[in-house]
Structures are given as C-alpha cells and as structure tokens.
C-alpha cells in the first residue's frame, strides 16, 4: 500500500524533500514508517529530537497502524517546545 509523507522544518531541510510517497507493507505502523524513512534519508535521525506523529491531520501514537493513502507527518518540536505528555 501507499502512504504520503510530508516533511516540515528541520526534517524537510535534513531530508532535502518536502513530500515522499512510500510503498509499505500492510500492517505497518507510524513507527515502522519512521524507521524506513531514516534508512532512506539517514540525516533524518536528528540526535535527541522528540517527535509527535500525525495521520490525516490528527495526532496519533507511533504504534498507529497505517492505511492505504494515509497522509503521515512527523512533527518536530513546535515553536515553543513540546508537551509530549499530551499526545503520547
């Protein structure tokens, strides 16, 4: 199945692309996708970065299983820092 990944801010700069269409296995989670992307774009592995995850414009947990045509965004810390407790 196919998912669309959008990259913003530091992740966009480090990957050198703003959008990636990725073929992944059925049953793959957001965390699985992140692991695959870090292989494709090694610079995405920012040391110490804490990410949040969104699928189809809603915050989700990293174990969320993906569906065909999902839009996935890995969210680096937003402008004032991040309240991880709220979403994970």
């Amino acid at each position: 199945m196919t998912v669309k990944v959008k990259l913003f801010a530091i992740l966009r700069e480090r990957a050198g692309v703003a959008e990636v269409t990725k073929e992944i296995k059925e049953g793959s989670s957001v965390a699985d996708l992140w692991a695959i992307l870090q292989q494709d774009y090694p610079k995405l592995a920012v040391p110490g970065i804490r990410l949040l995850y969104a699928v189809n414009r809603d915050y989700v947990k990293p174990e969320r299983v993906l569906n065909n045509f999902d839009e996935v965004v890995f969210i680096p810390p937003v402008s004032g820092g991040i309240d991880v407790s709220r979403h994970r």
Binding site: A9, I75, P76, G80, G81, I82, D83
Partner: protein, 143 residues
C-alpha cells in the same frame, strides 16, 4: 477566524471578527519578533506551518477554551514565512461578557499554540540559524 497567512496581520480585523453584542470585553495578544534571544542578535524569524493541520488545531484549541471559560468568540492568525523585527507573528483576539474569561482564554490560546499547533520557528541570527525547540541548525559560512 483561524488561519495562517504569509501577509502582515491586521489586528483590527481580528477585533472586528470577535466583536459581539453580548461581549463586554475583548482581550488581544500580539506575539512580536524581537531582536534578541538567549544572547543572540536576531535578524528575523522564519515560520513554517503544516497549514491544514495548524488551522484545525487552532479551531480545536478554541473549542477547548470554550469548555473552560464563558467566551463569545475567538480569532487567531499566525504568520508563516519571514517575519521581520517588530512585526507581529501571531495575533489572538477573544471576546467575552466579562474580562476575566477573555484574559484567561487569550492566555490559554497562546500557551497552547506553542505546544500543540504544527508551526515551526527558525531563528535567523547573526552568524547562523536555528530551528527553535530542536536546538539544531547550521552556522552560516559567509565570508
């Protein structure tokens, strides 16, 4: 009105948007680009948003504010792209029957924006640039 824009923000437009016959108070907050941060001389800020989700999260936080305080209306506009020193990067307006609710909801909105709304801030300073929150950036190798 909940949106991101690459144009200068018009404060009066937000005030007009939240003006309501039942409101006795309008509180506003203006976040402005300042010329220094943590000892660095800041030249400009450059904001980037995931616009569809940012606008959705702004709407969501206004609904959450509504469950906490008796407010009439709320409007939030956030800049994207380069924002020069002294220019507003975010403006919030809240109307309520009474000032306590208007002030409280306005404060809540700016604190939430900085935690949950997918808008990122790159600080361009003398000698480099940095994505705020990641403490990761690149020194400019200008000769």
């Amino acid at each position: 009105m909940f949106r991101v824009t690459d144009k200068p923000i018009n404060l009066q437009e937000l005030v007009d948007c939240v003006t309501d016959p039942e409101a006795g108070a309008v509180a506003t907050f203006i976040g402005i680009t300042r010329n220094n941060n943590e000892g660095r001389k800041v030249i400009a800020l450059d904001y980037e948003a995931y616009p569809e989700m940012a606008e959705k999260e702004l709407t969501r936080l206004s609904e959450e504010a509504r469950t906490k305080w008796q407010i009439c209306r709320m409007a939030i506009v956030h800049r994207v792209g380069p924002v020069q020193i002294t220019e507003p990067s975010v403006v919030i307006a809240v109307s309520a029957a009474h000032r306590e609710a208007a002030f409280a909801a306005c404060r809540f909105a700016i604190e939430e924006i900085k935690k949950t709304v997918p808008i990122w801030k790159k600080e361009v300073y003398e000698g480099g640039e940095i994505w705020i929150g990641t403490q990761s950036g690149q020194p400019l190798n200008r000769s």
